[in-house]
Amino acid sequence: MADKVNNKSVFFNPFSKNNPVIVQILGICSVLAVTAKLEPAIVMGLSVIAVLAFSNVIISLLRNTIPNSIRIIVQLVVVAGLVIIVSELLKAYAYAVSVQLSVFIGLIITNCILMGRLEAFAMANKPWPSFLDGIGNGIGYAIILVIVGFFRELLGSGTLFGFQIVPQAAYEAGYVNNGLMILPPMALIVVACIIWIHRSINKDLQED
Protein backbone atom coordinates (compact mmCIF):
# COMPACT_ATOMS: atom_id res chain seq x y z
CA MET A 1 0.00 0.00 0.00
CA ALA A 2 2.76 2.37 0.97
CA ASP A 3 4.41 1.64 -2.36
CA LYS A 4 1.24 2.67 -4.19
CA VAL A 5 1.04 6.03 -2.43
CA ASN A 6 4.68 6.57 -3.22
CA ASN A 7 4.12 5.94 -6.93
CA LYS A 8 1.20 8.32 -6.92
CA SER A 9 3.21 11.18 -5.43
CA VAL A 10 6.08 10.41 -7.81
CA PHE A 11 3.64 10.89 -10.66
CA PHE A 12 1.68 13.93 -9.43
CA ASN A 13 4.29 15.96 -7.53
CA PRO A 14 5.95 17.35 -10.68
CA PHE A 15 2.64 18.87 -11.81
CA SER A 16 2.80 21.70 -9.34
CA LYS A 17 4.66 21.30 -6.01
CA ASN A 18 7.84 20.11 -7.65
CA ASN A 19 7.31 21.34 -11.20
CA PRO A 20 10.52 20.91 -13.22
CA VAL A 21 10.26 24.33 -14.89
CA ILE A 22 9.02 26.78 -12.31
CA VAL A 23 10.29 25.13 -9.11
CA GLN A 24 13.38 23.16 -10.08
CA ILE A 25 14.19 25.75 -12.78
CA LEU A 26 15.31 23.19 -15.35
CA GLY A 27 14.86 23.13 -19.11
CA ILE A 28 14.18 26.83 -19.42
CA CYS A 29 15.82 27.24 -22.84
CA SER A 30 13.19 25.42 -24.83
CA VAL A 31 10.32 26.88 -22.83
CA LEU A 32 11.40 30.28 -24.05
CA ALA A 33 12.30 29.47 -27.60
CA VAL A 34 9.46 27.28 -28.88
CA THR A 35 6.45 28.91 -27.28
CA ALA A 36 5.69 31.75 -29.70
CA LYS A 37 2.95 29.52 -31.13
CA LEU A 38 0.87 26.85 -29.42
CA GLU A 39 1.38 24.05 -31.95
CA PRO A 40 5.19 23.71 -31.74
CA ALA A 41 4.87 24.05 -27.95
CA ILE A 42 2.61 20.99 -27.79
CA VAL A 43 4.77 18.96 -30.17
CA MET A 44 7.81 19.87 -28.09
CA GLY A 45 6.00 18.90 -24.89
CA LEU A 46 5.04 15.50 -26.30
CA SER A 47 8.59 14.88 -27.56
CA VAL A 48 10.04 15.65 -24.15
CA ILE A 49 7.51 13.41 -22.38
CA ALA A 50 8.42 10.51 -24.69
CA VAL A 51 12.18 10.98 -24.43
CA LEU A 52 12.08 11.53 -20.68
CA ALA A 53 9.94 8.46 -19.94
CA PHE A 54 11.94 6.07 -22.08
CA SER A 55 15.39 7.35 -21.11
CA ASN A 56 14.37 7.09 -17.45
CA VAL A 57 13.37 3.46 -17.98
CA ILE A 58 16.52 2.57 -19.91
CA ILE A 59 18.87 4.22 -17.41
CA SER A 60 16.97 2.66 -14.54
CA LEU A 61 17.40 -0.80 -16.11
CA LEU A 62 21.11 -0.14 -16.62
CA ARG A 63 21.67 1.58 -13.29
CA ASN A 64 23.54 -1.27 -11.66
CA THR A 65 25.89 -1.86 -14.58
CA ILE A 66 26.98 1.71 -15.38
CA PRO A 67 30.40 2.59 -13.92
CA ASN A 68 30.06 5.76 -11.90
CA SER A 69 32.90 7.63 -13.60
CA ILE A 70 31.42 7.52 -17.10
CA ARG A 71 27.75 7.72 -16.22
CA ILE A 72 27.23 11.16 -17.77
CA ILE A 73 28.45 9.98 -21.15
CA VAL A 74 26.30 6.83 -20.95
CA GLN A 75 23.27 8.94 -20.08
CA LEU A 76 23.97 11.34 -22.91
CA VAL A 77 24.30 8.53 -25.44
CA VAL A 78 21.02 6.94 -24.38
CA VAL A 79 19.25 10.30 -24.55
CA ALA A 80 20.88 11.19 -27.87
CA GLY A 81 19.74 7.91 -29.39
CA LEU A 82 16.15 8.54 -28.32
CA VAL A 83 16.24 12.14 -29.52
CA ILE A 84 17.47 11.05 -32.93
CA ILE A 85 14.49 8.69 -33.20
CA VAL A 86 12.08 11.48 -32.23
CA SER A 87 13.68 13.94 -34.63
CA GLU A 88 13.58 11.50 -37.57
CA LEU A 89 9.92 10.71 -36.77
CA LEU A 90 9.04 14.40 -36.72
CA LYS A 91 10.84 14.99 -40.02
CA ALA A 92 8.84 12.14 -41.55
CA TYR A 93 5.35 12.91 -40.21
CA ALA A 94 5.31 16.59 -39.18
CA TYR A 95 7.86 18.32 -41.38
CA ALA A 96 6.45 21.86 -41.01
CA VAL A 97 6.62 21.71 -37.22
CA SER A 98 10.07 20.18 -37.22
CA VAL A 99 11.33 23.09 -39.34
CA GLN A 100 9.81 25.55 -36.86
CA LEU A 101 11.44 23.76 -33.95
CA SER A 102 14.79 23.73 -35.84
CA VAL A 103 17.66 23.02 -33.46
CA PHE A 104 15.50 22.75 -30.38
CA ILE A 105 14.58 19.11 -30.95
CA GLY A 106 18.31 18.34 -30.92
CA LEU A 107 18.68 20.45 -27.83
CA ILE A 108 16.36 18.09 -25.91
CA ILE A 109 19.59 16.15 -25.34
CA THR A 110 20.98 18.94 -23.25
CA ASN A 111 17.65 19.77 -21.68
CA CYS A 112 18.56 19.91 -18.00
CA ILE A 113 15.30 18.20 -17.02
CA LEU A 114 16.57 15.00 -18.59
CA MET A 115 19.95 14.99 -16.90
CA GLY A 116 18.37 16.14 -13.66
CA ARG A 117 15.81 13.34 -13.57
CA LEU A 118 18.28 10.70 -14.74
CA GLU A 119 20.81 11.68 -12.09
CA ALA A 120 18.38 12.29 -9.27
CA PHE A 121 15.79 9.59 -9.86
CA ALA A 122 16.47 6.92 -12.46
CA MET A 123 19.95 6.11 -11.13
CA ALA A 124 18.44 5.14 -7.77
CA ASN A 125 15.04 3.66 -8.55
CA LYS A 126 13.33 0.73 -10.23
CA PRO A 127 12.07 0.99 -13.84
CA TRP A 128 8.34 1.38 -13.09
CA PRO A 129 8.62 4.35 -10.66
CA SER A 130 11.19 5.83 -13.05
CA PHE A 131 8.72 5.56 -15.91
CA LEU A 132 6.06 7.32 -13.83
CA ASP A 133 8.56 9.95 -12.77
CA GLY A 134 9.50 10.55 -16.40
CA ILE A 135 5.89 10.91 -17.52
CA GLY A 136 5.06 13.12 -14.54
CA ASN A 137 7.94 15.48 -15.07
CA GLY A 138 7.32 15.53 -18.81
CA ILE A 139 3.71 16.53 -18.23
CA GLY A 140 4.77 19.15 -15.70
CA TYR A 141 7.07 20.60 -18.34
CA ALA A 142 4.41 20.41 -21.05
CA ILE A 143 1.86 22.21 -18.86
CA ILE A 144 4.11 25.24 -18.52
CA LEU A 145 4.92 25.11 -22.25
CA VAL A 146 1.22 25.12 -23.12
CA ILE A 147 0.36 27.94 -20.71
CA VAL A 148 3.15 30.14 -22.04
CA GLY A 149 2.36 29.22 -25.66
CA PHE A 150 -1.35 29.94 -25.11
CA PHE A 151 -0.80 33.47 -23.83
CA ARG A 152 1.91 34.33 -26.32
CA GLU A 153 -0.05 33.20 -29.36
CA LEU A 154 -3.37 34.64 -28.17
CA LEU A 155 -2.01 38.07 -27.24
CA GLY A 156 0.72 38.20 -29.88
CA SER A 157 -1.06 36.97 -33.00
CA GLY A 158 -4.72 36.83 -31.94
CA THR A 159 -4.85 33.16 -32.94
CA LEU A 160 -4.73 29.69 -31.36
CA PHE A 161 -3.35 26.77 -33.38
CA GLY A 162 -3.37 29.23 -36.29
CA PHE A 163 -7.15 29.85 -36.09
CA GLN A 164 -8.35 33.41 -35.62
CA ILE A 165 -9.70 33.88 -32.08
CA VAL A 166 -9.85 37.64 -31.67
CA PRO A 167 -12.86 38.66 -33.83
CA GLN A 168 -12.38 40.89 -36.84
CA ALA A 169 -14.73 43.45 -35.27
CA ALA A 170 -12.24 43.97 -32.45
CA TYR A 171 -9.53 44.93 -34.94
CA GLU A 172 -11.92 47.32 -36.66
CA ALA A 173 -12.67 48.89 -33.30
CA GLY A 174 -8.97 49.62 -32.87
CA TYR A 175 -7.59 46.48 -31.14
CA VAL A 176 -3.98 45.83 -32.05
CA ASN A 177 -2.01 42.62 -31.54
CA ASN A 178 0.77 43.02 -28.99
CA GLY A 179 3.80 42.42 -31.20
CA LEU A 180 6.05 42.32 -28.15
CA MET A 181 4.55 38.97 -27.12
CA ILE A 182 6.07 37.29 -30.17
CA LEU A 183 9.58 38.35 -29.17
CA PRO A 184 11.54 35.87 -27.03
CA PRO A 185 12.05 38.17 -23.99
CA MET A 186 8.32 38.17 -23.32
CA ALA A 187 8.46 34.41 -22.73
CA LEU A 188 10.72 35.14 -19.76
CA ILE A 189 8.26 37.65 -18.39
CA VAL A 190 5.32 35.26 -18.83
CA VAL A 191 7.26 32.55 -16.98
CA ALA A 192 8.18 35.07 -14.28
CA CYS A 193 4.47 35.86 -13.86
CA ILE A 194 3.66 32.15 -13.58
CA ILE A 195 6.36 31.81 -10.91
CA TRP A 196 4.97 34.85 -9.14
CA ILE A 197 1.42 33.45 -9.01
CA HIS A 198 2.62 29.94 -8.16
CA ARG A 199 4.77 31.13 -5.28
CA SER A 200 2.11 33.45 -3.94
CA ILE A 201 -0.08 30.37 -3.56
CA ASN A 202 2.66 27.99 -2.35
CA LYS A 203 4.33 30.20 0.24
CA ASP A 204 6.81 27.53 1.33
CA LEU A 205 8.61 27.85 -2.03
CA GLN A 206 9.50 31.52 -1.55
CA GLU A 207 13.18 32.33 -1.21
CA ASP A 208 14.26 34.17 2.00
Binding site: I25, I28, I72, E88, I109, T110, L114, P184, A192, Q206
Partner: protein
Protein backbone atom coordinates in the same frame (compact mmCIF):
# COMPACT_ATOMS: atom_id res chain seq x y z
CA UNK B 1 36.63 40.58 -42.73
CA UNK B 2 33.74 38.15 -42.93
CA UNK B 3 35.12 36.32 -39.90
CA UNK B 4 35.30 39.52 -37.83
CA UNK B 5 31.74 40.22 -38.84
CA UNK B 6 30.65 36.79 -37.65
CA UNK B 7 32.61 37.23 -34.42
CA UNK B 8 30.93 40.55 -33.60
CA UNK B 9 27.52 39.26 -34.68
CA UNK B 10 27.90 36.24 -32.42
CA UNK B 11 28.68 38.39 -29.40
CA UNK B 12 25.94 40.97 -29.69
CA UNK B 13 23.27 40.13 -32.24
CA UNK B 14 23.13 36.34 -32.00
CA UNK B 15 23.85 36.45 -28.29
CA UNK B 16 23.29 32.95 -26.88
CA UNK B 17 21.44 34.15 -23.79
CA UNK B 18 19.54 37.21 -24.94
CA UNK B 19 18.65 36.13 -28.47
CA UNK B 20 18.35 32.32 -28.22
CA UNK B 21 18.09 31.69 -24.47
CA UNK B 22 20.52 28.80 -24.58
CA UNK B 23 22.34 27.65 -21.48
CA UNK B 24 19.70 29.14 -19.20
CA UNK B 25 19.86 26.40 -16.56
CA UNK B 26 23.42 27.02 -15.49
CA UNK B 27 22.93 30.72 -16.20
CA UNK B 28 20.15 30.96 -13.60
CA UNK B 29 21.88 28.70 -11.10
CA UNK B 30 25.33 30.30 -11.14
CA UNK B 31 24.58 34.00 -11.64
CA UNK B 32 24.31 34.76 -7.92
CA UNK B 33 27.73 36.37 -7.65
CA UNK B 34 30.05 37.89 -10.20
CA UNK B 35 33.16 35.86 -9.49
CA UNK B 36 31.65 32.42 -9.97
CA UNK B 37 29.65 33.65 -12.92
CA UNK B 38 32.81 34.93 -14.60
CA UNK B 39 34.57 31.60 -14.00
CA UNK B 40 31.75 29.63 -15.56
CA UNK B 41 31.61 32.09 -18.45
CA UNK B 42 35.30 31.55 -19.15
CA UNK B 43 34.81 27.78 -19.04
CA UNK B 44 31.92 27.97 -21.48
CA UNK B 45 33.86 30.21 -23.87
CA UNK B 46 36.78 27.83 -23.75
CA UNK B 47 34.57 24.83 -24.48
CA UNK B 48 32.88 26.58 -27.40
CA UNK B 49 36.20 27.58 -28.95
CA UNK B 50 37.45 23.98 -28.70
CA UNK B 51 34.36 22.00 -29.64
CA UNK B 52 33.07 24.13 -32.51
CA UNK B 53 36.07 23.60 -34.86
CA UNK B 54 36.22 19.89 -33.98
CA UNK B 55 32.56 19.46 -34.73
CA UNK B 56 32.96 21.55 -37.88
CA UNK B 57 35.64 19.16 -39.15
CA UNK B 58 33.52 16.17 -38.20
CA UNK B 59 30.56 17.67 -40.01
CA UNK B 60 32.50 18.52 -43.16
CA UNK B 61 34.52 15.32 -43.51
CA UNK B 62 32.27 12.68 -41.97
CA UNK B 63 28.66 13.65 -41.54
CA UNK B 64 27.43 15.79 -44.44
CA UNK B 65 25.86 14.13 -47.46
CA UNK B 66 28.82 13.27 -49.70
CA UNK B 67 31.34 14.20 -47.00
CA UNK B 68 32.97 10.79 -47.17
CA UNK B 69 33.93 11.15 -50.84
CA UNK B 70 37.62 11.50 -49.78
CA UNK B 71 37.48 7.76 -48.98
CA UNK B 72 36.79 6.93 -52.62
CA UNK B 73 33.97 7.37 -55.11
CA UNK B 74 31.84 4.51 -53.75
CA UNK B 75 31.32 6.50 -50.53
CA UNK B 76 30.26 9.69 -52.36
CA UNK B 77 26.53 9.35 -51.71
CA UNK B 78 26.69 8.26 -48.07
CA UNK B 79 24.67 10.56 -45.79
CA UNK B 80 25.45 10.21 -42.10
CA UNK B 81 23.86 13.47 -40.94
CA UNK B 82 21.39 11.62 -38.69
CA UNK B 83 24.37 10.67 -36.51
CA UNK B 84 25.40 14.28 -35.94
CA UNK B 85 23.61 14.69 -32.59
CA UNK B 86 25.25 11.67 -31.04
CA UNK B 87 28.74 12.53 -32.35
CA UNK B 88 28.52 16.19 -31.34
CA UNK B 89 27.44 15.33 -27.82
CA UNK B 90 30.18 12.71 -27.54
CA UNK B 91 32.83 15.29 -28.51
CA UNK B 92 31.39 17.80 -26.06
CA UNK B 93 31.14 15.33 -23.18
CA UNK B 94 34.68 14.06 -23.61
CA UNK B 95 36.13 17.58 -23.96
CA UNK B 96 34.29 18.59 -20.79
CA UNK B 97 35.92 15.73 -18.93
CA UNK B 98 39.32 16.96 -20.15
CA UNK B 99 38.65 20.57 -19.16
CA UNK B 100 37.46 19.42 -15.77
CA UNK B 101 40.71 17.57 -15.17
CA UNK B 102 42.76 20.56 -16.34
CA UNK B 103 40.91 23.02 -14.10
CA UNK B 104 41.20 20.69 -11.13
CA UNK B 105 44.95 20.51 -11.65
CA UNK B 106 45.81 24.12 -12.46
CA UNK B 107 43.23 26.17 -10.58
CA UNK B 108 41.91 24.37 -7.49
CA UNK B 109 40.24 27.55 -6.22
CA UNK B 110 38.20 27.91 -9.42
CA UNK B 111 37.45 24.20 -9.24
CA UNK B 112 36.18 24.56 -5.71
CA UNK B 113 33.94 27.51 -6.53
CA UNK B 114 32.50 26.01 -9.71
CA UNK B 115 31.90 22.74 -7.90
CA UNK B 116 29.20 20.65 -9.45
CA UNK B 117 28.64 23.00 -12.36
CA UNK B 118 31.69 21.91 -14.34
CA UNK B 119 30.25 18.54 -15.35
CA UNK B 120 27.06 20.40 -16.16
CA UNK B 121 28.87 22.26 -18.94
CA UNK B 122 28.45 19.05 -20.92
CA UNK B 123 24.72 19.58 -20.81
CA UNK B 124 24.91 23.34 -21.27
CA UNK B 125 22.61 23.93 -24.23
CA UNK B 126 24.77 26.82 -25.43
CA UNK B 127 27.57 24.46 -26.41
CA UNK B 128 25.52 21.86 -28.26
CA UNK B 129 23.44 24.73 -29.65
CA UNK B 130 26.59 26.33 -31.07
CA UNK B 131 27.45 23.12 -32.91
CA UNK B 132 23.92 22.75 -34.25
CA UNK B 133 23.79 26.36 -35.46
CA UNK B 134 27.18 25.79 -37.10
CA UNK B 135 25.72 22.81 -38.97
CA UNK B 136 22.62 24.75 -39.97
CA UNK B 137 24.45 27.80 -41.27
CA UNK B 138 27.00 26.07 -43.52
CA UNK B 139 30.14 27.80 -42.27
CA UNK B 140 32.86 27.90 -44.90
CA UNK B 141 36.07 27.33 -42.94
CA UNK B 142 37.53 26.27 -39.60
CA UNK B 143 38.47 29.89 -38.86
CA UNK B 144 34.84 30.91 -39.18
CA UNK B 145 33.88 28.16 -36.76
CA UNK B 146 36.51 29.33 -34.24
CA UNK B 147 35.39 32.96 -34.59
CA UNK B 148 31.74 32.07 -34.11
CA UNK B 149 32.60 29.87 -31.12
CA UNK B 150 34.65 32.62 -29.52
CA UNK B 151 31.93 35.16 -30.17
CA UNK B 152 29.14 33.03 -28.74
CA UNK B 153 31.29 32.21 -25.72
CA UNK B 154 32.17 35.86 -25.05
CA UNK B 155 28.54 36.83 -25.51
CA UNK B 156 27.54 34.23 -22.94
CA UNK B 157 30.29 35.42 -20.58
CA UNK B 158 29.16 39.02 -21.00
CA UNK B 159 25.54 38.12 -20.33
CA UNK B 160 26.13 36.03 -17.22
CA UNK B 161 28.57 38.53 -15.71
CA UNK B 162 26.25 41.47 -16.33
CA UNK B 163 23.21 39.72 -14.90
CA UNK B 164 25.21 38.46 -11.91
CA UNK B 165 26.31 42.04 -11.17
CA UNK B 166 22.72 43.25 -11.33
CA UNK B 167 21.53 40.38 -9.12
CA UNK B 168 24.11 41.25 -6.47
CA UNK B 169 22.80 44.81 -6.32
CA UNK B 170 19.17 43.73 -6.38
CA UNK B 171 19.76 41.29 -3.53
CA UNK B 172 21.45 43.97 -1.45
CA UNK B 173 19.36 47.07 -2.07
CA UNK B 174 15.92 46.37 -3.53
CA UNK B 175 12.63 45.40 -2.02
CA UNK B 176 11.49 42.70 -4.39
CA UNK B 177 8.01 41.22 -3.75
CA UNK B 178 8.50 37.98 -1.84
CA UNK B 179 7.22 35.47 -4.43
CA UNK B 180 9.45 37.02 -7.08
CA UNK B 181 12.68 36.89 -5.06
CA UNK B 182 15.52 34.87 -6.48
CA UNK B 183 14.50 33.22 -9.70
CA UNK B 184 11.48 35.33 -10.62
CA UNK B 185 13.28 38.65 -10.62
CA UNK B 186 16.20 37.13 -12.52
CA UNK B 187 13.81 36.15 -15.30
CA UNK B 188 12.56 39.71 -15.53
CA UNK B 189 16.07 41.19 -15.46
CA UNK B 190 17.10 38.85 -18.26
CA UNK B 191 14.02 39.73 -20.28
CA UNK B 192 14.66 43.46 -19.97
CA UNK B 193 18.30 43.00 -20.97
CA UNK B 194 17.13 40.86 -23.89
CA UNK B 195 14.95 43.70 -25.10
CA UNK B 196 17.90 46.09 -24.72
CA UNK B 197 20.11 43.76 -26.75
CA UNK B 198 17.58 43.86 -29.57
CA UNK B 199 18.82 47.33 -30.36
CA UNK B 200 21.88 45.64 -31.86
CA UNK B 201 19.71 43.99 -34.52
CA UNK B 202 20.64 44.93 -38.02
CA UNK B 203 24.16 46.17 -37.28
CA UNK B 204 26.47 45.16 -40.13
CA UNK B 205 30.21 45.62 -40.37
Amino acid sequence: MENINIFIRSIFIDNMIFAYFLGMCSFLAVSKNVKTAFGLGVAVTFMLVITLPINYLLNTYVLQPGALSWLGTEYADVDLSFLSLILFIAVIASMTQLVEMAVEKFSPSLYASLGIFLPLIAVNCAILGGSLFMQQRDFTSVTTAICAGGGWGLGWLLAITAVAAIRERVAAYSKVPKPLRGVGITFIITALMGIAFMSFLGIKL
